[in-house]
Amino acid sequence: MTQDGREASLPDAVAANVSPAADDTALVPAGERAVGSPIVVPNTLWTSGREGAYPTGSSSYLHLASLEGSDLMLKDDARWGALEVIPTKADIVVDLIRMNSLWPLLSGLACCAIEMMSAATSKNDMDRWGMFPFRASPRQADVLIVAGTLTTKMAGPLVRLWEQMPEPKWCVAMGDCTCSGGRYKRSYSTIEGIDRVMPVDVYIPGCPPRPEGLIYGMMKLGQLVKERRGHWDEHVIAPNVPTDV
């Protein structure tokens, strides 16, 4: 994760997005006015102190395609193994295939794991979308459903687990604790959201989310897989993550 090296080659649009603000002078008063004079609201849209905070036009709005065009993103369009001989247009088929068999990894961290299991059982059956065979080994899994609070002690193993999964792989953050820290945000041993240590494709809030919620998130993930048409930009990890993770 060489953020610094990539920062040098940022296009202006991206640089405008990530450059730290000089100072937050949000609302600029419209000039001086005498005491008692009627307040005249100037007929101009106010602009934020941070340029690029409110995208106007196409200058700071970054489309995924242009992102792929820039050298910011790793050129890596998920064609591995034997299917590499298939030319580009066949990616639609490949992505339909991947979308229809997303094998989750059989790993639960905490409370949400129970609801994850409940989503796979008879009442609400994840198998219908081909998501059922929970693989025990990360080598054969496609989706990592992080279900439950992530502690600092577990962060290393989880990151390693993520690294052990073969591409293409996706991560689903299930529950408030994994999205943002949730009810243990204040604690001394938890991580405020797993996107500090690993990329996340789909966030499913709720403490814990219902099984239907998980299934909805997984279907959203399938939609994502289908719409990206097999072009996977490298996930940008949240700013304040230690570089040695």
């Binding site: 064609r79 229809n100 094998w103 059989l106 059956d125 219908r128 025990a136 080598r139 073969p166």
Partner: protein
């Protein structure tokens, strides 16, 4: 022009290599065809007719390879749906009719995953072990008699070949477990070795009695001997042998309750722990090919390989009816044949549509016609199928063979859905303390019976 250049830009390097090749093939294809038709073709034919067995062997191998993967897909889908039904679930139902294509999709997905091998693994062995496992399970198809004259090789030492090849599977599993450089894989491989080796013995011994009875080791001959009524099946002469063979073959195929080699809850995925992508796919398919294989073997050895349970000709003979053989020369019809082909569908469709149009249910004409046409097709297919069944013996044979084999596959899946897993010491104790003495007893009784009968 822009579209061409853009698509050219979108292609991967490999695509840029492949597409011109395709164009080249399109150009060179006709020329090559002409050449083959004129000069190379006859030479090949002469060569083939010169040494037929080799050609037959190659054809059989190709057919088996093409045949094994769809079988695995069918069994995987069957397992998904049957276990889902046993768990009060729906099972996959999104891709294909009733989710029939889900297993195919899973297989293609595995094909398109990253092909990974750990740093510390022994690359060569790690790469080739799954292929070995898959090949050993596929090679056994060569001697399976799917029907009369529908067999790859009529080996006269077929049973010997069978068990020698089946024993080679454990080598692949052991190599896979060892080369992964993972303790779980190592445990899985060693478990597989111990299990398969110790279950080979009762498996083989249970068939020796059968061989004594049959007096041959040719699997095709075994099938021939069980023709006629179902009482000729060897299961009624070797019940104990059949039982032992069934139990031992479960362990051979590493299925529940003997699936200690990939016990999820103990050793994560056994010998397959470190495998990903298509190598894992090989192991995955080999398991299911093995399931079909042992079911087919049970069918072949003990349940009358391709023979129908009832002997139609015997029944017909009992009623003094000549066996049905339609030796009707269509050429004798002459011009009437063309008329029949032109008119018969029309007449039959109208005839079948009539009751729906004039009957109580006053359907509109087009509906009645559609229904009539469908019925006509069904009837025609049924008649043709019946004729084929009666006149083409291998169609009947393959039908019955697959019916029986998939009945046993269903039993395997059923056990997968219901049984817990045995412990390793219970597994070994069962093999050596119960199955082996039982197999020896079976062998002894069979031999004694044969001697007694001969002495009479």
């Amino acid at each position: 022009m822009t579209t061409v250049s853009r698509s050219w830009g979108n292609m991967t390097t490999t695509g840029k290599v492949v597409v011109p090749l395709l164009l080249l093939v399109l150009v060179l294809g006709p020329i090559a065809t002409v050449a083959i038709g004129s000069w190379i073709g006859p030479w090949i034919v002469g060569l083939a007719s010169a040494n037929l067995p080799i050609v037959r062997f190659l054809v059989a191998v190709t057919g088996v390879l093409l045949f094994s993967i769809p079988t695995a897909f069918i069994i995987i889908y069957m397992e998904l749906k049957v276990i889902a039904f046993m768990n009060l679930r729906v099972g996959p139902d999104r891709v294909g009719p009733a989710g029939a294509a889900h297993s195919v999709v899973a297989g293609l997905k595995v094909l398109s995953k990253e092909d990974f091998s750990p740093n510390a693994a022994d690359r060569t062995v790690f790469t080739w072990a799954p292929v070995l496992v898959f090949l050993t399970s596929v090679m056994t198809f060569l001697i399976l008699p799917f029907g009369p004259d529908l067999v790859g090789m009529k080996l006269n030492i077929g049973v010997l070949y069978l068990f020698s090849i089946g024993g080679m599977t454990v080598v692949g599993l052991l190599l896979a477990g060892w080369s992964s450089f993972n303790k779980y894989s190592l445990l899985g491989g060693l478990r597989a070795a111990a299990q398969v080796v110790s279950y080979e013995i009762p498996l083989t011994l249970s068939v020796v009695g059968l061989i004594l009875l049959a007096g041959t080791m040719n699997v095709y001959t075994l099938g021939l001997q069980q023709s006629g009524w179902f009482t000729n099946w060897y299961v009624f002469r070797q019940p104990l042998g059949a039982l032992i063979f069934f139990i031992a073959s479960i362990a051979e195929a590493n299925r529940t309750p003997f699936d200690l080699t990939e016990a999820d809850s103990e050793i994560v995925a056994g010998f397959a722990t470190e495998y990903s992508g298509m190598r894992f796919g090989f192991l995955f398919f080999a398991e299911y090919v093995n399931v079909f294989l042992v079911s087919a073997l049970i069918t072949t050895f003990f349940f009358g390989a391709w023979n129908a349970p009832v002997d139609i000709n015997a029944i017909l003979g009992f009623f003094n009816i000549a066996p049905i053989t339609i030796s009707f020369e269509l050429g004798t019809l002459g011009i009437a044949l063309l008329i029949a082909i032109a008119v018969l569908p029309l007449i039959l469709t109208l005839a079948l549509a009539a009751p729906f149009y004039f009957g109580k249910t006053q359907r509109p004409a087009w509906q009645a016609l559609v229904i009539g046409f469908i019925l006509f097709n069904l009837v025609g297919i049924g008649i043709l199928g019946l004729i084929a069944y009666v006149n083409v013996p291998w169609i009947a044979g393959i039908t019955w063979f697959f019916l029986k084999a998939f009945a046993f596959v269903f039993v395997f899946v059923w056990m997968r859905g219901t049984f817990p897993r045995v412990r390793i010491d219970q597994l070994m104790g069962f093999a050596w303390k119960w199955l082996l003495p039982a197999a020896l007893l079976n062998l002894f009784v069979t031999a004694a019976a044969i001697i007694v009968v001969k002495s009479l």
